[in-house]
Symmetry: C2
């Protein structure tokens, strides 16, 4: 057989992601689930020639091929337990988008908000599901006629994760939020991210009064799960 | 910044493609354009544990992340001339799906026809735009809710390539075809592939009587362009 199937290939990041998601916990499990999750794709030399971005602004969406770099070297198993199935049923790793997979490659369709070519090229993108610092190996335009498969059937993950929980802010959290310049943006992001219920599947339905926390956009977000949904308890600046 | 943006990553093919496309010339320029282009994705050890393919059959489509391996080491330019624009206008390489790009990564959404788990795991897939022998780095299920972006706008490539040419078979070609076991399948494939007009853009509209040839599915396909479309002249077994 012709080709290079026996070879290994060395890849260099062409860009790095700046994201409000600064830890794995709480990251939406696919692109597009949190439309207000806005980040940047910062091109790295020698892949940062502004001419490389010419004509990109005509596309509404992009593919980012990236490395789940915080999972590299941690191994993989032939079968995984997707959160979608409550974490108690296994599927083959090739039937999943799990980060613990051979080659640790990820793929996200993100909305392109803005192309900044000069002085230092970067892209503003929305709907990201990427950890801050994620290395990007490729950027491609989303081609509707080829990529948007209208009749596709998605197996055990055919529809978006449901239900989406109601999110309310308590008095402390409202006060924290009101003091911020970007209150509206962050409020929308918090509602989208927590509404997806970031708890591990085995905790869902249990310990309703347990407090949770995650770092989001440089702040320390705390919440608890109530009978009716999620109550945000605070949103203080993160203390290193 | 946290992360591994400065690192390089070494990847190993997890599978290899068997395809009717045995040379670059004539390959459809995106997945899905030739629905009858059927191939196989053959898993390679140690990524060929049948359990890795469990539950995949529930998905209608897959993403293949692959290497344009016949382009590796041949360099790239900040701007490219996509065939879509007649080969005479340049766009930024990040706005294109050109194989000559940093890291030479490709991405195709293919239809999953069949999952064969034993004894040697492979996938039968359709609508491929891949050269025989192409190394595959990742296989992911296509998730309609996240991947099929209904409102996406595709810049200079918003709609499928047009026009599609009419393809007729002359007497010799009809005779060649009739002698084949897989005549119907190959006939459909030829019509789809030649209908997309594989000529280089600079030749289109010129030299209408020039004869063209390509190797397809182990045969030597010859055709010419007429006033009304494409005339297939022969389809003999390929002589090594």
């Amino acid at each position: 057989m012709k080709g290079n199937a026996g070879h290994k290939f060395l890849f260099e990041p062409v860009a790095v992601v700046r994201s409000p998601f600064e830890e794995k916990f709480g990251i939406p499990r696919q692109a597009g689930l949190a439309p207000d999750a806005v980040g940047e794709v910062r091109l790295l030399a020698p892949y940062d020639d502004p001419a490389m971005l010419d004509d990109l602004a005509g596309f509404s969406h992009l593919w980012l091929t990236f490395v789940f770099d915080r999972c590299v070297g941690q191994g993989w198993h032939p079968r995984v337990r997707p959160p979608r199935l409550g974490g108690n049923r296994e599927v083959g790793v090739w039937a999943s988008r799990a980060p613990f997979r051979p080659n640790n490659l990820g793929l996200s369709a993100v909305r392109l908000l803005e192309v900044i070519q000069r002085p230092s090229p970067y892209l503003r993108v929305a709907g990201i599901d990427l950890l801050d610092g994620t290395p990007v190996l490729d950027i491609k335009p989303y081609l509707p006629y080829s990529d948007a498969v209208a009749d596709a059937v998605g197996g055990f993950a055919d529809s978006p994760p449901r239900p989406v929980l109601d999110v309310v802010f308590n008095t402390d959290a409202e006060r924290d939020l009101a003091a911020l310049d970007d209150a509206d943006t962050l409020c929308a992001l918090i509602i989208q991210v927590l509404g997806l219920d970031p708890r591990p599947a085995y905790r869902q339905g249990a310990e309703p009064d347990r407090m949770y926390g995650m770092r989001l956009a440089g702040r320390d977000l705390r919440w608890r799960v109530t009978e009716s949904g999620i109550e945000v308890l605070g949103f203080a600046l993160y203390a290193e």
